[in-house]
């Protein structure tokens, strides 16, 4: 197990460097004129351009810029964005909001999705099953760019059940609507996945055995069916975290949550290399960690899975 962990962590380090390198290279390749991008449509005077170019090493080739960045990183310095703000400070402010949003979305989606999936799986071909099928199909087919403003208009502006936007330092209540929007797509997938898995496991030999032993229905479903059915779902949740971060770019914009998504969006539009790489680095770390946790949870759920 320890060896496995170490191996995974080393892989993570490699992934980290590879990913930041690629992102930095992509940013650089796309970089035409970051100072102009920052200034918008105004002309920049030559003197200002010169001074800023020197300050941010914009005239150096990409590999040296990357070198400067990595050098800083090893000294615990994430660098400064092109607007002169510390990226570590930006990260510090942005992460809590996004993490809260993503966790709420996952919890919301998992809770409802899994329960609906289990019930639909047990009562296959019932009205409940068909209804969830239709609802989940609708949810999956609406892209988040459509769903988010729609929900905002309906529940935020028209009905006023929730605040229309969450803003900085949002309350739990204010984050509910964005989290539901963000989790909607995942919810549908979780529920479909759970349902299939439950249906399959209900027919499994060990379930028949358990029933034959005279265990109660609750115990059969709760312990034997559910635990095994959750394995594919949990795998998916881990991978899905990445998708949630991507969805956060839209959701955070619509609901005005200053988080990772909105910072990344701004970094990309202003060709702010250090800013984008800083945020992507952390995203990579989250991805690696999430997948690690998923792999470890396998062992908890399924004793047959053993790691060398």
């Amino acid at each position: 197990m320890i060896r496995y962990l170490v191996r995974r962590l080393l892989q993570g380090v490699l992934t980290f460097f590879g990913a930041t390198f690629v992102v930095y290279a992509l940013m650089f390749a796309n970089q035409d004129n970051p100072l102009q991008a920052l200034a918008g449509e105004r002309p920049i005077s030559e003197n200002v351009r010169q001074a800023l170019t020197e300050r941010y090493h914009l005239d150096e080739p990409f590999i040296i810029q990357y070198g400067y960045y990595m050098q800083g990183l090893f000294q615990g310095d994430f660098g400064t964005s092109l607007t002169g703000r510390e990226i570590s400070e930006l990260l510090e402010n942005a992460w809590p909001n996004t993490a809260r949003l993503a966790v709420m979305a996952v919890i919301f989606a998992a809770l409802i999705g899994i329960v609906a999936g289990v019930v639909a799986g047990i009562r296959r071909a019932s009205i409940f099953d068909h209804t969830t099928l239709i609802i989940t199909l609708v949810l999956i087919s609406i892209p988040i760019v459509v769903l988010a403003p729609l929900m905002q208009l309906f529940f935020g502006v028209e009905l006023r059940w929730f605040p229309a936007t969450a803003g900085a330092n949002p309350t739990f209540y204010a984050l509910m609507l964005p989290a539901m929007v963000l989790g909607a797509g995942s919810l549908a997938t979780y529920s479909r996945l759970t349902r299939t898995s439950v249906v399959e496991n209900l027919r499994a030999d060990y379930v028949r055995t358990a029933k034959a032993k005279g265990l109660t229905r609750n115990r059969v479903i709760g312990v034997h069916v559910l635990r095994n059915s959750l394995i594919p779902v949990i795998t998916y949740i881990g991978v899905d975290l990445g998708g949630l971060m991507a969805g956060a770019i839209v959701t955070e914009g619509v609901f005005n949550i200053p988080g990772v998504g909105s910072q990344l969006f701004r970094g990309i539009t202003t060709e702010d290399g250090p800013l984008v790489v800083g945020f992507v680095s952390i995203l990579v770390i989250i991805f690696i960690l999430a997948n690690l946790i998923v792999d470890l949870l396998y062992a908890v759920l399924d004793p047959r899975i053993r790691y060398e």
């Binding site: 197990m1 005077s45 003197n47 607007t83 502006v157 200053p258």
Partner: protein, 544 residues
């Protein structure tokens, strides 16, 4: 069993820490009543909050609350003294600025001539890389504060400039200073209303010419509002009424500038009374805004000027006759109606209606839609059979460019395609390299209300935004004479003569003049947006 327990332990801390993060802080302030009310205004995250480095509308909106300008503009957009007692000159070269007594910075420091001199020197000094440094260009000694890179592009660094103080600034006494320009300039007083010319307190500098670390987080100004706490990045900036302000008192207790990433989010907030003022209605909502907001949807004149530029260096567009024919084939009113839902106005002049000296239809027949004449003229002049119109894809220009192209196709019988470049910067760098971009879209927002602010940068040979290679010595001379004219009227006469040359040469096609479209909640009234897209914080009132 061993394995399972370890796995659970390894997973636990990460999961719980994520969970802990999920439980955060909250709290909202209750709404108060008039006139102790706090009004919330939408802004985007400002790039900077130093007067000499702020040139976007969000930052200027915040600074407008914190600072009092030397001059402000009256109904006719003429400059009137504000923090200044008088601004006078006999020859338009040496200007004497007398300050009103009694103004203090928010840290009780007295506003003196030095507050201005130090701030302007800081702004003009090239190594400080201030975005507004070009505003000090006209002051004597500016060139000595600049330096050029000896080999243009690394590896040698540019040497330090010769001087770090503008020789044109001189203190007379505590409340008086003189500004000597390198050449007479009639509009100098008008310029002084711009953000770049605010004063800075001694507390802003850690040592001479060095801005104190952290000043930008809580700028100290001389205006009607002072910072309430510090700049909360990506969240909000709060200001409260400054009791020591000798000028006109605002009718509210403070302002919360709320930072939005997207205008659509702010629009939803205004609709649900969560936000008081939205300075720009997002394009997506412009059609529904009048019904959504009713009489809380308002418009006011803006200084923006949108036009199509010709790469005059390309043989295809070298002839003015071709350019005029294209202009004549565009039905501006139709596009404004169908694409912009009447949220802008047709432009048939080369300067905006908001400046003194504006005349209607200076462009003449070339800007009047006439399909038949356009086609005859175009064929006679031998215009190109295919045209491209380039634009930046991130600015919502596709619709009107496509509409324009369709009109050209129908009316001139040519091929026309709209070409999107990802960003405006990409478009500009292609134009600078003289690559074939065809016609391209351009826009202009003025810095101060003067015809010169349009004619100079966009059309003179050395203009900072003249990307299309237009050059006419006669035009340059007229603009230069205008700036040196004895008074405003004489200047305007020269500028208008220059504008007439543009109508003959037609280097660009004027298309539209902008309009501010803004909205507000049911909790405020007397909301007014000025030419710089700033809410008038002295006028706005809260409804209790």
């Amino acid at each position: 069993m061993q394995v399972r327990r370890f796995a659970a332990l390894a997973a636990l801390p990460v999961v719980t820490s994520l969970g802990l993060v999920a439980c955060g802080q909250g709290g909202d302030e209750a709404s108060e009543s008039n006139p102790s009310a706090i009004v919330s205004i939408e802004i985007a995250e400002p790039q900077h909050l130093v007067p000499t480095n702020t040139n976007e509308t969000s930052g200027s909106q915040v600074l407008a609350a914190l600072f009092a300008p030397l001059v402000s503009y009256d109904e006719a957009n003429k400059p009137v003294e504000d923090a200044a007692e008088s601004i006078s000159s006999t020859d338009n070269t040496v200007w004497t600025i007398k300050l009103k007594d009694g103004y203090t910075f928010h840290n009780n420091e007295k506003v003196t001539a030095d507050s201005y001199i130090n701030a302007w020197n800081y702004g003009a000094y090239a190594p400080n890389a201030q975005g507004n440094s070009y505003f000090f260009e006209k002051i004597a000694g500016y060139a000595d504060l600049q330096s050029t890179d000896p080999d243009d592009d690394g590896p040698q660094k540019a040497p330090a400039p010769k001087a770090n103080k503008l020789s044109g600034l001189a203190k007379v006494d505590d409340l008086t200073f003189t500004v000597t320009l390198s050449a007479p300039y009639v509009d100098f007083k008008t310029m002084l209303g711009y953000t770049a010319f605010y004063p800075l307190p001694a507390a802003a500098f850690s040592s001479e010419g060095v801005l104190a670390e952290g000043y930008e987080e809580a700028p100290i100004g001389n205006g009607a509002f002072k910072m309430n706490g510090t700049w909360q990045h990506d969240a909000k900036i709060e200001v409260a009424v400054y009791d020591g302000f000798p000028g006109e008192k605002p009718k509210i207790a403070g302002v919360e500038f709320r930072i939005y990433q997207q205008l659509t989010a702010a629009y939803a907030d205004v609709q649900s009374d969560n936000l008081d003022v939205l300075r720009t209605i997002p394009t997506e909502n412009i059609t529904t805004a009048p019904t959504d907001l009713g009489d809380r949807y308002a418009t006011s004149p803006a200084s923006t000027f949108q036009f199509l530029a010709f790469p005059t260096f390309q043989p295809d567009f070298a002839k003015p006759e071709v350019r005029k024919a294209i202009s004549m084939a565009i039905d501006r009113d139709e596009i404004i109606k169908s694409v912009f839902k009447n949220s802008q106005q047709s432009a048939r002049s080369f300067v905006s209606p908001v400046v003194g000296g504006y005349r209607e239809d200076t462009c003449g027949a070339s800007c009047q839609f006439n399909a038949a004449n356009a086609k005859t003229a175009y064929t006679a002049a031998g215009g190109p059979a295919t045209i491209k119109i380039s634009y930046n894809g991130d600015g919502g220009h596709k619709d009107w460019v496509d509409a324009t192209c369709n009109q050209l196709k129908t009316n001139l019988g040519i091929q026309c395609t709209g070409v999107a470049e990802p960003k405006f910067a990409d478009l500009l760098s292609k134009v600078e390299k003289k690559q074939d971009v065809g016609m391209f879209r351009m826009g202009w927002v003025m810095d101060y209300p003067s015809m010169e602010n349009y004619l100079g940068p966009i059309f003179t040979t050395k203009g900072s935004s003249n990307y299309y290679g237009y050059s006419n010595p006669e035009f340059d001379a007229l603009v230069a004479e205008g700036t040196k004219a004895a008074d405003e009227e004489a200047a305007i006469a020269k500028y208008q003569a220059a504008e007439d040359i543009l109508a003959v040469d037609m280097p660009v096609i004027p298309l539209r003049f902008g309009q501010n479209n803004f909205g507000y909640s049911t909790k405020v009234r007397n909301v007014d947006l000025d030419l710089f897209q700033r809410i008038d914080l002295h006028k706005i009132e809260a409804v209790s």
